[in-house]
């Protein structure tokens, strides 16, 4: 099987090769993990089961990697990965990870960029979680989501997010019930509209002012 077009030559890593049949789970959320994968062919779906729903997080393609957090530390897998086609992937452990990066600057560089983005994302989440006001936490989740969509909050007014209450609760680090209360309060204030599959924020700039004010207040 040839590597992804224009990708690095990984033929020397064939001994790390694993096959997964369409529909196979590669690993499950909550499993302990110590391996990371580089897709050579086929697609991999990343999902999380939230309540009674399977939520699609991402679809990964040949050349993409996943499971890399486990080579950093022994944390349970944070999502479930399923082979969307018949998948061929290289499986690396923490031990042979360095061999891979040394011999493959292209992959190492891709990981480096991924880590840079992930550090930022984690810091952004950290900013949300360290707000001491629960309404501000929820509002800041929407600001983060708007940033991820690269929206200019100064020119855009109403923003629709394809997210659920559970998603928002997850990022805000609060229980679902509490998150729903806050969102209902925002609905009563006509700041948002709440639908089963999406949430519409009427004036995102209002949320930004609110969060900034809370953060300033907290710093004092």
């Amino acid at each position: 099987m040839s590597p992804a077009a224009g990708g690095p030559d990984l033929s020397m890593f064939n001994r790390f090769s694993k096959m997964f049949r369409k529909g196979d789970i590669i690993f499950c959320e909550y499993e302990p993990g110590d391996t990371f994968y580089l897709i050579q062919s086929g697609r991999v779906q990343v999902v999380r089961i939230i309540g009674d729903l399977e939520k699609n997080i991402a679809i990964l393609n040949p050349g993409d990697y996943f499971g890399e957090m486990s080579i950093l530390e022994n944390v349970p897998r944070s999502a479930t990965t399923i082979a969307l086609d018949d998948v061929k992937a290289l499986e690396f452990s923490r031990e042979n990870f360095e061999v891979l990066t040394l011999g493959n600057p292209q992959i190492a560089l891709k990981l480096l960029k991924g880590f840079a983005q992930r550090i930022y994302a984690q810091k952004r989440t950290f900013m949300i979680l360290t707000l001491d006001d629960v309404e501000a936490k929820v509002a800041d989740v929407f600001l983060m989501l708007a940033e991820n969509q690269a929206l200019d909050k100064t020119t855009v007014d109403t923003v629709e997010f394809k997210n659920t209450v559970d998603d928002v609760a997850h990022w805000a680090g609060i229980p679902s019930g509490q998150c729903r209360e806050v969102l209902n309060h925002f609905v009563a204030q006509r700041r948002i509209e709440l639908y089963p599959d999406r949430i519409v924020v009427k004036k995102i700039a209002d949320f930004e002012r609110f969060v900034n004010a809370r953060r300033k207040h907290q710093e004092k």
Binding site: E31, L109, F115
Partner: protein, 349 residues
């Protein structure tokens, strides 16, 4: 284009916190400080850049705002790279990247742990319950292969766990369903067998090898096999009409020693779920005549019986159920189900 050497005077600023730029810098001579606020402590931190060290890498590669201000302490010479220029240099010297990877992964590990600590209040599913719930979800949604994976992993990690007994019986349940599709895998050619893994991610976990024996996947399945399993997957998603059409394509493609019969069987089953009971009876009866020793003959007859039952003909259904039971053996899962169905029919009669 190649990186440029730029002179900076003492007390000048190379970039401000909040700037967005794709420039990456390398300190050649002089002194440069990075000043930023530690998000954990809220304190201002100043890091001195060492000679020969890159800075501004993370925000340039990650495409986000600068998180620190780079202040020149004494006249300095700095090489300025665009991202592609930096990549070109790094590709020639992998050590640069591996060193940075080590730094980034340390930072990532640290911030990840901090976030996890704060998340605890909202997201407190423990891994044992979490894994069990995933199995439950897939079982409920008739995605038996995936349910099996989650449950089997559960038993590997928690052989005496709180859900172990329940999980064991659910594994049997899921396997029963899967067995209706045979092994789910053609036994014949598996050309790249040595490369095929017996199951996901188990090489490093010898303890898993005995308990978790997932059906081995062929390295490359034929086109007809793929079409077949795609269709089976549609069945498990309850998309019966689409599945029926997909199986039909296999028949239309001409005879196949393995999949023609399997597809016919599955089509008849789809007809049942599509509530076309007369057609279902016709199809399964034809299969039973054509293959009197079909390994899933009892299943086929059960569907015929259920179709009669659905049509309101309880007598015919009951007779068929009795016939299946007489075929034995007693502990056959299909026979067990048929016995239950017979009781229901007789009870209702």
């Amino acid at each position: 284009m190649s990186p440029k050497a730029v002179q900076y005077r003492a007390n000048s600023i190379i970039y401000f916190k909040g700037d967005q730029s794709d420039r990456i810098f390398l300190l050649n001579a002089g002194r440069v400080n990075l000043s930023y606020v530690d998000i954990e402590t809220g304190q201002e931190v100043r890091d001195l850049i060492k000679m020969g060290e890159f800075f501004g890498v993370k925000s340039a590669l990650g495409h986000y705002m600068r998180e620190e201000t780079a202040i020149v302490l004494q006249d300095s010479t700095v090489m300025v790279f665009s991202v592609p220029e930096f990549e070109a240099v790094a590709m020639k010297n992998t050590r640069i990247i591996t060193k940075m990877l080590a730094v980034f992964s340390n930072q990532l590990r640290r911030i990840h742990r901090q976030v996890q600590n704060l998340m605890v209040s909202g997201d407190q599913t423990n891994p044992e319950t979490g894994l069990y719930q995933i199995g439950e979800y897939y079982l409920k949604n008739k995605r038996f292969g995936q349910a099996l994976y989650a449950f089997k992993r559960y038993l590997v990690y928690y052989p005496t766990g709180a859900y172990a007994t329940d999980v064991t019986s659910k594994i049997v349940q899921a396997e029963e369903f899967l067995s209706r599709y045979g092994s789910g895998v053609p036994a014949s050619p598996a050309p790249a067998a040595p490369a095929a893994a017996p199951g996901p991610a188990m090489a490093a976990r010898p303890s898993a090898a005995t308990t978790v024996a997932m059906a081995a996947a062929p390295a490359e399945s034929s086109e007809v096999a793929q079409t077949f399993y795609n269709a089976v997957s549609l069945v498990s998603q309850e998309k019966y009409l689409e599945a029926y059409k997909a199986f039909k394509k296999i028949l239309e493609a001409g005879p196949d020693p393995e999949y023609t019969a399997k597809a016919e069987f599955e089509m008849a089953k789809c007809l049942f779920y599509l509530k076309q009971f007369d057609n279902c009876i016709k199809s399964f009866s034809a299969i039973a005549q054509k293959f009197p020793k079909h390994p899933e003959l009892k299943d086929a007859l059960f569907f015929v019986g259920r179709s009669y039952e659905e049509k309101g003909d309880k007598a015919k259904a009951g007779n068929l159920y009795k016939k299946i039971i007489s075929m034995g053996p007693e502990d056959d899962p299909v026979v067990r189900k048929v016995r239950k169905a017979l009781r229901a029919v007789e009870g209702a009669a």
